[in-house]
Symmetry: C2
Subunit: 171 residues, 2 copies
């Protein structure tokens, strides 16, 4: 027997509540909506493309090494370096992940790859124009993080203190 205590809406607070539900939808161009709004599925279409650009690109930038790799490459002379240099600059990255990340970034056109048919193989990676163009927005995020990191840490500590659950975070 389900008590109806928590039905759709109680008499006194019908439909629209304290906070207005504000159909502000029309105030935004529906172009933006494509990126943020409802229709944003992660399913791939017939071509194999993701259908949510924002989410897909974001998750690329959010993956473990892409940003670090781009920033590392940006610090190299000519925004250019070879495989082993990158490996040295990011000691914690596994060879497998370095290869894979480079490959994905190349696929997206952010870096270019040049292979030299020498006896000890040499491969050089370089930020493309597209890759360079993302540096500024990227650096703004980095700057923001640098500037607010301690604030965030503090926030976490007080939060964890007030919520002394076993384990925090996802799951």
């Amino acid at each position: 027997m389900k008590l109806d205590t928590y039905s759709q809406s109680t008499p006194e607070v019908a439909e629209t509540n304290t906070i207005n539900t504000a159909k502000t939808a029309t105030t935004e161009q529906s172009g933006k909506d494509f990126f943020v709004q409802n229709t944003c599925k992660d399913k791939k279409d017939s071509e194999g493309h993701g259908v949510c650009p924002l989410r897909e690109l974001l998750s690329r930038l959010g993956d473990k090494w892409s940003v670090l790799l781009i920033l590392t490459l940006a610090r190299m002379p000519g925004e250019r370096a070879r495989f082993s240099e990158l490996k040295r600059s990011l000691p914690d990255i596994s060879q497998r992940m370095l290869t894979a990340t480079l490959r994905n970034l190349e696929r997206d056109g952010l870096i270019s790859r040049e292979m030299f048919a020498e006896v000890p193989p040499r491969v050089e990676y370089q930020l493309t124009e597209l890759g360079v163009s993302i540096l500024n927005p990227m650096r703004e995020i980095v700057t923001w993080i640098e500037g607010n990191w301690t604030t965030i840490i503090t926030s976490r500590e007080t939060f964890d203190k007030k919520n002394p659950k076993e384990e925090n975070g996802l799951q």
Copy 2:
């Protein structure tokens, strides 16, 4: 029997190669290095903090819903909305993920949570000052993605055409 064909460095191309290895390290403040450089481990210290702020925050922004949620909240009047409104705005998110993402963002201090002890429970979430402050850098990334999305798609297509492997991407 290992042939020594690929030893450290071949005679004619010793140590420093075509591309100079440029110890440009000194040209960068070592503060930056903390974020990008070698010492960047993902291990947690005794307190449970990640030791690589950049990576950690980036992966938060890169997770499936954080950015979408922040942007959605930013579009609400007063950068404020209740749980069910957010759920409606992001129909594809599961309740579990909405709860978890909101919780993480609250923990980081990007959003605040206010609970009302009413009979049908009401909880309102709002971007904090910190949360609002990340909107601009975030929007720059979004803008960049919007502006370069088709370029990236094109790049991927040509790449996949030239590399007709079974499946691309990681793994």
